[in-house]
């Protein structure tokens, strides 16, 4: 099994991209990544997207993107795992290169959520249609149920949830690709309109358009390319029950824990070795649970750990230097690879004002639905 490197990355701005279509934004991100890599051809491609069918009536987008990139007849397919579609796509690209089957693989993600679709309805397809959605629960509702149980069991406070959004907005304000480039205060987050008690609109990631791509090659090939590349050290993925109510414990995201463990094992490292992480803060409570499951802090302590500044840019373990899903935006299928783009740029030393000092080992964690799927990748400087 060959070692695999990320040799190029690119993304569009995330936000309300009224002038650009689904195909426009993917092609834009792909061309940036290919240009960054300096490769002259691609062997195959994987396109992560949650539901272009429901958002813009378009399926078969592996083909669409290969066609619009002028790359037909290379093999191309769309990968789906709800909000971790492109994180899972990265895994497939990793397997294809490390097995020796291909030498250069393009992996990307895209979502066009603002073209008039019923986004609440589309996103709800990531939950259990018959036993959650039928009952009238929404995604903010599912995470609110997790939040309330976490607050009841561990004493996590409303202020600690808000601290996640404040930190992520602070970071996003320094990210030129972020949907929201402005700070928010604890009071603003706590007093914003309630979406599902206790979560407000400022605890919740937005509806966004955007695309992100990376180019993968073997580490040996990367050396020939003479571009600053980053090696993939580990990959882990796991599933849990689809319905939140069927989880062993509704305050534990077991898929996150198991995908993290598998990635740490493959990489041969511990949580304390991670210098920077991009995690799936679809809602503020999600980041609190995720940092517990990934071993950055103990179970139940995610709230105080965040409140004390440990996950800030200058903290013990900077989490979401990009601004996270909250501030950078969450075009669902694009998020996984956008997290990779941030970690790659951090490890290359290219993150500008958001640069985490001496970042050598980075982690991305991407999650689907209410935690039914999770995929973790670990990267290091070569």
């Amino acid at each position: 099994m060959r070692e695999v490197a990320v040799v190029g990355c690119g993304m569009t701005k995330f936000g309300e991209l009224w002038e650009k279509s689904l195909r426009d934004i993917f092609v834009e991100a792909a061309l940036k990544a290919i240009d960054d890599a300096g490769v002259d051809h691609i062997d195959s491609m994987y396109v992560g997207a949650m539901t272009p069918g429901l958002f813009v009536g378009q399926e078969h987008i592996g083909v669409l993107m290969a066609d619009y990139l002028g790359m037909a007849p290379i093999p191309a397919m769309r990968v789906e795992s709800a909000c971790c579609s492109s994180g899972m796509a990265l895994r497939l690209g990793l397997f294809e290169i490390s097995s020796g089957y291909s030498d250069i693989v393009l992996v990307g993600g895209v979502e066009k959520m603002n073209d008039g679709a019923d986004a609440t309805y589309a996103l709800a397809t990531a939950a259990d249609q018959e036993y959650e959605v039928y009952q009238g629960v929404t995604f903010p509702g599912l995470y609110a149920l997790i939040a309330r149980a976490h607050m009841h069991r561990y004493g996590t406070t409303r202020e600690q949830l808000a601290a996640v959004s404040v930190k992520n907005h602070h970071n996003g304000a320094m990210n030129p690709n972020a949907q929201f480039q402005r700070e928010v205060t604890l009071e603003q987050v706590m007093n914003a309109t309630l979406v599902a008690d206790p979560l407000t609109v400022l605890d919740s990631s937005p509806v966004s358009d955007g695309a992100a791509c990376v180019v993968l090659t073997s580490v040996d090939f990367a050396k020939q390319l003479k571009v600053p590349s980053v090696k993939i050290l580990g990959s882990g993925a796991a599933t849990d029950t689809l319905a939140l109510h069927n989880r062993e414990d509704i305050t534990t995201l077991k898929a996150v824990k198991l995908s993290g463990k598998a990635a740490y094992k493959m990489a041969g490292i511990k949580p304390s070795d991670i210098d920077v992480a991009e995690v799936h803060d679809c809602f503020s409570i999600a980041e609190i649970c995720i940092i517990e499951e990934l071993g950055f802090t103990q179970k139940g302590k995610g709230g105080p750990f965040t409140e004390q500044g440990n996950t800030a840019l200058e903290g013990k373990i900077p989490v979401n230097p990009s601004g996270g899903l909250k501030s950078k935006g969450h075009p669902v299928g694009a998020t996984g690879i956008a997290q990779v783009v941030e970690v790659v740029e951090q490890l290359r030393g290219n993150a500008g004002k958001r640069q985490v000092k001496n970042a050598k080992i980075g982690l991305t964690q991407n999650m689907g639905g209410s935690g039914g799927s999770s995929v973790v990748h670990i990267f290091t400087t070569t």
Binding site: D118, Y134, Q135, G136, V137, P140, A149, H152, A196, L199
Partner: protein
């Protein structure tokens, strides 16, 4: 939802019909083809207990289109007395009355209507006891 799917789910939505694995005794709602506990494919038909306890709750203030007129409404994860959990609205009370640990019972109610020409959808909700 389209009627064939709706009709198939009626035993669960109207009568709380569940299945118990013959080999390991794990209870499933809805019934399944394979036991997620031991992998067995043999089940006994049974029914959920009609009472349970609130494990967590929230109030939905921004609802999907079919539920928009019901906002705000309370949703809870309830653990029925025979151990299976489900997600359900809690009605006939103020949302502020819900607390983790309170007892509820399941009742048969209308869930929503499918627009102007669709079917009326029924199922279970919960009330505080």
């Amino acid at each position: 939802m389209p009627s064939p799917g709706y009709r198939r789910e009626m035993p669960q939505r109207y009568r709380l019909e569940a299945a118990r694995c013959k080999k390991c005794g794990k209870l499933f709602f809805p019934p399944r083809l394979v036991c997620a506990g031991c992998g067995s494919k043999e089940f006994d038909k049974t029914k959920l207990s009609e009472t349970g306890t609130i494990l967590s709750h929230t109030v939905i203030r921004v609802a999907p289109a079919d539920f928009a007129t019901q906002v705000p409404y309370a949703i809870a994860i309830v653990e029925s007395d025979n151990g299976v959990r489900l997600t359900t609205q809690v009605v006939d009370c103020k949302p502020e009355d819900l607390e983790i640990g309170k007892k509820v019972k399941f009742i048969f109610r209308k869930l929503y209507e499918e627009g102007h020409t669709g079917i009326i959808c029924y199922g279970y909700k919960a009330v505080l006891v």
